[in-house]
Amino acid sequence: MNVSYFKDQFQQLQTGNDSAHVAALRTGSFGTFDQKGLPTTKLEEWKYTNISSLFDKDYQISPLADKTALLAAAIEEIQLPGNADANVLYFVNGRYEPSLSILKSASEDLQVMPLLEAASAGFQEIIDQHLGESSAYLKDGIHALNTSFITDAVFVHVPPGKELRHPVYIYHLADAQHQAILTQPRSLVYVSKRAKIQIVETFRTLGTQDSFSNAVMEVVVAQDATLEYYKLQNDAAHTSQVSSTHIHQIGKSHVHTVTISLNGGLLRNNLNMILDAEGNETHLYGLSLLKGKTHVDNHTLIDNKHPNCFSNQLYKNIADDSSTGIFSGRIIVQPDAQKTNAYQSNKNIILSDQATINAKPQLEIFADDVKCSHGCTVGQLDEEALFYLRARGISKELAEVLLLQAFATDILEQVKIDPLRQHIETLIQQHLSIQ
């Protein structure tokens, strides 16, 4: 699969009634993709993660599907606990499917629509201002590729002052039963002043052909608003992702994110926090339980553009078998961002000789009155703790499981949606029990 194949697909794209802004965005992005191609390991930001082999095959790009049949087949597997109480959105093969959405919140509290309809619904200004703003930070060809193909994207809007009592669950369903599939879901979320939203995103592939998702979500968080974002990656080992979440805090606001990666082939998570107002606060938590040949690359970026912002990151990996875990945490403190507090910690446990952990903190500090710290530990389980448990009659295997679960606990506790947290706790227990 090469650039010329994408060129054909791009030209065939139905453009319909798109706004000039979206059309220009697509064309510009395709130009970028054409020029840069897909990232190789020669790029610093991609040096640990080789996605070129993912493109050695031909994929169907976001094919239309019999969504009802697909959903019926997948519904048991894909639905998360708490579903009945949630605003449920479906992407099928990378396309947002409005007919499958079930909104629990009232329409004055939450607006969800296809992105290409949002302009006519009065959100033109938001889209013109914010759609595509992630490209200023994610400059590589794979990001540009997603933007080039924006068609059935979703726009989510929470009006000022509305604190949603029902979380938004976004399910990405891919059909890889007959052919390898490439999907490119796209979302734009606007959380207005004093609003509150919880978003959960998860992915499921049907079938055993390869499935590669190149997903982008841009979120804008306005003054005094709150965002909780949870990503759960628990799809099969033949599925891969580049999943970018770009969060722009335009007003003093609070963001809380948790990324849980339990299974998959190659998973690259880009998580950006643009702290674009004084007093912003953001928390980033991550937990990867890696086994087999799973490769999880968590790249985070926090850009402190104004004074008095606070950010805290804690990412943990447990790596077994021949898996690979990467944490690359970049913190930028711009010259004006005095009194920035930025904390970063990466903790890793390696359980086998073939597992690999790469940790790369990157602090670019241009102001002089700041508090920034970064720390990384890589090790095995505490021998003394293991012996203590065994000396009480607990088997070595169970002792290891207890300690690994203990290691995961403080990240798990950050999932504030109760049924979701309990579900993830069960998944973690299952994951750790298989010897």
Binding site: D382, E384, Y388, L389, R390, A391, R392, G393, I394, L402
Partner: protein, 253 residues
């Protein structure tokens, strides 16, 4: 119950135990005292099954079984309990869940059914009262944020819950003030019985005021160089270890 025959043990190639012989019967309380570096911790580690120690000679029989061939968890399940000198903190593992797992692993080993929640809770309450340990401590992670005294009380609480045949208390009195020591000793005394044996490893005689031993042994340079009754402990209190260690050194020349 416990028969230690000619045990030699080393760690990192350094020989620590150089021929220990000891017989402990059910119902007996033995105290092992000795100056620092004599091998007291090594002895308790070897009995509990720490893998860093290598036993080069000798054997240990526990309730008719070859103790040294069993992994640490099986020794515990057979009824051996070690109260650690420095109990480790284990954040993220709840004390209650841990004790429940330990109790049920032992029951499984003995072919019994696991305790149901109600019975377990009842047993916990009983033992908590016996050992004077607070419920609030038990709802936390193992030993996390516990003071020295609380950690030792947690050790005795676990001993009460697991009802071992042989309890080895490794310098349980170290780091405790008078009040803490009294509470811990009380708990241990309540656990004395005719089918249980206790091995107290201690540097100071003080603990033996509270827990009266039947036999006292002095460990020096990896060997038991003198045995006696509780009067020996009192003599050591008055005279120190010198009169014994000097005699032992002389005998070795």
């Amino acid at each position: 119950m416990l028969s230690i025959k000619n045990i030699h043990a080393n760690i990192d190639g350094k020989q620590i135990l150089k021929g220990i012989n000891l017989e402990i019967k059910a119902g007996e309380v033995h105290a092992i005292m000795g100056p620092n570096g004599s091998g007291k911790s090594t002895l308790s580690s070897v009995l509990a099954g720490r893998e860093e120690y290598e036993v080069t000679e000798g054997e240990v029989e526990f309730l008719g079984k070859d103790l040294l061939s069993l992994p640490a968890e099986d020794r515990a399940r057979e009824g051996l309990f070690l109260a650690f000198q420095y109990p480790v903190e284990i954040p993220g593992v709840s004390t209650t869940n841990f004790i429940k797992a330990a109790v049920n692993e032992k029951r499984k080993y003995l072919g019994q059914d696991p305790l149901d929640a109600v019975s377990f809770l009842k047993m916990m309450k009983e033992k908590m009262a016996m050992v004077e340990i607070n419920q609030s401590l038990l709802s936390r992670s193992i030993n996390e944020g516990f003071s020295g005294g609380e950690k030792k009380r947690n050790e005795v609480f676990q001993m009460a819950m697991l009802e071992p045949k042989l309890a080895i208390l490794d310098e349980t009195d170290s780091g405790l003030d008078i009040d803490a020591l009294r509470i811990v000793a009380n708990g241990i005394n309540k656990l004395r019985s005719s089918d249980r044996a206790i091995l107290l490893i201690t540097h100071y005689q003080r603990l033996l005021d509270y827990i009266q031993p039947d036999f006292v042994h002095v460990l020096y340079k990896g060997k038991i160089v003198k045995s006696g009754t509780k009067e020996l402990a009192l003599e050591l209190e008055e005279r120190g270890y010198d009169f014994i260690t000097e005699a032992a050194d002389m005998a070795n020349l």
